[in-house]
Structures are given as structure tokens and as C-alpha cells.
Symmetry: C2
Subunit: 213 residues, 2 copies
């Protein structure tokens, strides 16, 4: 079998759509064969209690981060309150070239930057099942003031307003069905002609040996 | 929910790839919700013992068939040994407009004709797992002469030589995995932006009400 490249899947959602739980459940489904990887961000901030290096973030020093910037290792990076945050292009492309599919959880702005740099990436937008449900989920996150909730709602709407830049749209109503949708999207892309004809080149050559149209 | 159109899936394979069993198993998986339909050909020949009208074929008279030709009801039709055979465009398009996904089992020539008339159709090619397996499956069909087997093999190779005109390629090695692949392709297309944004137009409008970028 020839080496086939994996597919990069960009996933965005407004806060409160259930994206993180969906991705976690999806990764579980592919746990056994290690054919799907989740991209982890780099940061220079200190790990918080309970955070694990290379799982929560790749925790690196300022010097390391700036060396990564210098060698163009990021799709995008930003400095927030004195700390760098970045999305590794280097690691994602290594995985893709190794035939892994990769999920990358990012907002609509990051998604745009990645599409520009990885034209074959596929993107998925996740919506909560209703406006009420979105509001409830945004309110549930602690004892916040109306002002804070209103700002959060505005931010969610801004994210949602970009839904039509994505290839797929999943309304996260029934959790298990949304996981099945994500899994189906991943599997379907594995059977696209380009990937399969690379993977099975020898078989195709053998079957067509001596044949001329 | 607004009305969303279904997707037409064209499936081709050389004889001996296991296509019919795969499609039968796939249809079973979607039995409950009737969201996937299998296109059935029209013919003017007599039903054979065990054949059921509208399942094996739509059995129609010469007059009926020619009336269907006259109103352009077929993607393609042919007369073989005095009997007409045709693939109904009318029924398929009615189902698609009704939101059903449709599978249509046809050879590479028919697939070409349908692609021309239904540019949004997706096509899937199925291969047997090896050249030896293909030969075995072609030989197993009764006590045929070497000449007959050789001709069958040539026909299979001709079909295989068109694999690269399809969107998806499935090597039917493990039956259940091939059924899962087909099911994933069907489900993935249901979550494409275009279908979902039609289906969930009200939800999207509600979530973006009063929002301007």
C-alpha cells in the first residue's frame, strides 16, 4: 500500500454548542486504531492545576515559542496578556503526511487562516439545537451578570454568523447522533477517490495489468 | 424545517465485487426511517419466477415504456433482444425532491449519462479485495468454459478501468467495513452545509436575528 495523506478537519462552534464534549467522544471512538489525532495548542503560560503537558497544551518557554515562530511552525499565533498562544502547523502537517486524520478546534478567524494555508482542509460548524438552549448554556456557566451574559451572547452570534464558511453543519440536538455525524464525515473522507487510489495503487495496477481501453 | 433535497448516489462495480450484497445490507440499515431508497429499473420483459414487480423491476408494457420515453422519463434506456430496459429519472428526481437519498446501481456508461443529467450526484466505485479474489468470484458462477470466464474477466477489467471517474472508491475486503463506509458516505452528505442550512433555516435566522456583522 502506498502512503496516503490524512485529512485536516477544522471544527468551530459558538460557546455552549457542546463542541468539546463531542470532540472528546469522537476521539474515544478512534482510540483503538490511532487514526485520528487532536491538535493541541502551544502556550507560554504556566500550566494550571490539573493541566497536562501535550494534552491540555504544549507548554513551552518564550524562547522555544519564538524559535517556532521564526521557523514558521504555526498556522497562527497571538500574544494575550504577555503569553503566547499558537496553533502548530508543523505537528498537524507531520500527522497528515503520516496518514492520520486531524481535528483542530478553533474559532472562525483561525479557521480562515488555516483554510488559506491548507486548502484541502475540511471544516465543520456545530450549532446548539435552539436559541433558548444556547442562552441557557451560556447562563449556566456560573453566577454571571446580565452584562457578561449579553457580551457572551454577542460573541456567540458573531461566531454563528460565519457558519456558511464551513463545509459541514451539525446541529447538536441528540449528542450520540452528532458524534455519529462527525464519525461519518471522517470515515467518508477516507473513501474519497484520491485517498483510496493512492492507498490501493498496487491493487489497481494489478487488476488493470495488460488492459488498454 | 424547510424542505431539503436528497442526494443521488451512483454505484458501479465489476461483476464479482459484491456490490448487490453491500447495497442490500446498506438498505437494511436505513429500513427504519425510510430515508434511503434504491432505484429500480423499468423493463418490458416478462417477470421470471421469484421476481416481484417494483422490487426486481418495474414491469411495464411496450406502450407504457414508449410513453415514458416520449415524456423524457429516463436517464437512459436501451432495447436488448426485443425488450426495453430503462433507468427512471422521473422517480429518482421525485424522491430526491422529497428529501430522500437514492442509490442507483449502474455500469460506468450509465454512470456517465447520469452525471451529465444530475451534476450533483455522487458516485461510488466498489472493487474486490484482490485480482485472485475477482477471478475466483467470476469462476464460481457455475461451470463456465475458459472462454466465457475470459470474456467476463475482460468485461470486469473494462469496468475497473473507469474507477477514476468516481468520487469514492471502496475496496470490499471486510464486508461490514464496506457497509460502514457506504453508510458513512450517505450520512456525511446529509451534514453538508447546503443541505443543513436549508433544513435549519429557521434556527439560523432565529440565532442571528438582530445581528449584523
Amino acid at each position: 500500500m502506498s502512503k496516503e495523506k490524512g485529512t485536516l478537519f477544522i471544527v468551530s462552534a459558538p460557546s455552549g454548542a457542546g463542541k468539546s464534549s463531542l470532540i472528546a467522544a469522537l476521539m474515544q471512538r478512534f482510540n483503538l486504531d490511532d487514526s485520528l489525532r487532536l491538535s493541541v495548542s502551544h502556550t507560554t503560560r504556566e500550566p494550571r492545576p490539573g493541566e497536562t503537558n501535550h494534552v491540555s497544551y504544549h507548554f513551552v518557554s518564550n524562547e522555544e515559542f519564538e524559535a517556532l515562530i521564526a521557523r514558521n511552525a504555526f498556522y497562527e499565533y497571538a500574544k494575550v496578556f504577555d503569553h503566547y498562544y499558537g496553533t502548530s502547523k508543523e505537528i498537524v502537517e507531520e500527522w497528515i503526511n503520516d496518514g492520520k486524520d486531524v481535528f483542530l478546534d478553533i474559532d472562525w478567524q483561525g479557521a480562515r487562516l488555516i483554510r488559506e494555508q491548507s486548502p484541502y482542509a475540511k471544516s465543520i460548524f456545530i450549532l446548539p439545537p435552539s436559541l433558548e438552549e444556547l442562552q441557557n448554556r451560556l447562563k449556566k456557566r456560573g453566577q454571571d451578570s446580565d452584562e457578561v451574559i449579553k457580551k457572551r451572547m454577542e460573541k456567540a452570534k458573531r461566531e454563528i454568523s460565519h457558519y456558511n464558511e464551513y463545509d459541514y453543519l451539525i446541529v447538536n440536538d441528540v449528542f450520540d447522533e452528532s458524534v455519529l455525524a462527525l464519525r461519518s464525515i471522517v470515515l467518508a473522507h477516507r473513501f474519497e477517490l484520491k485517498r483510496q487510489s493512492n492507498k490501493h495503487k498496487q491493487l489497481l495496477d494489478a487488476m488493470l495489468e495488460g488492459y488498454s481501453k
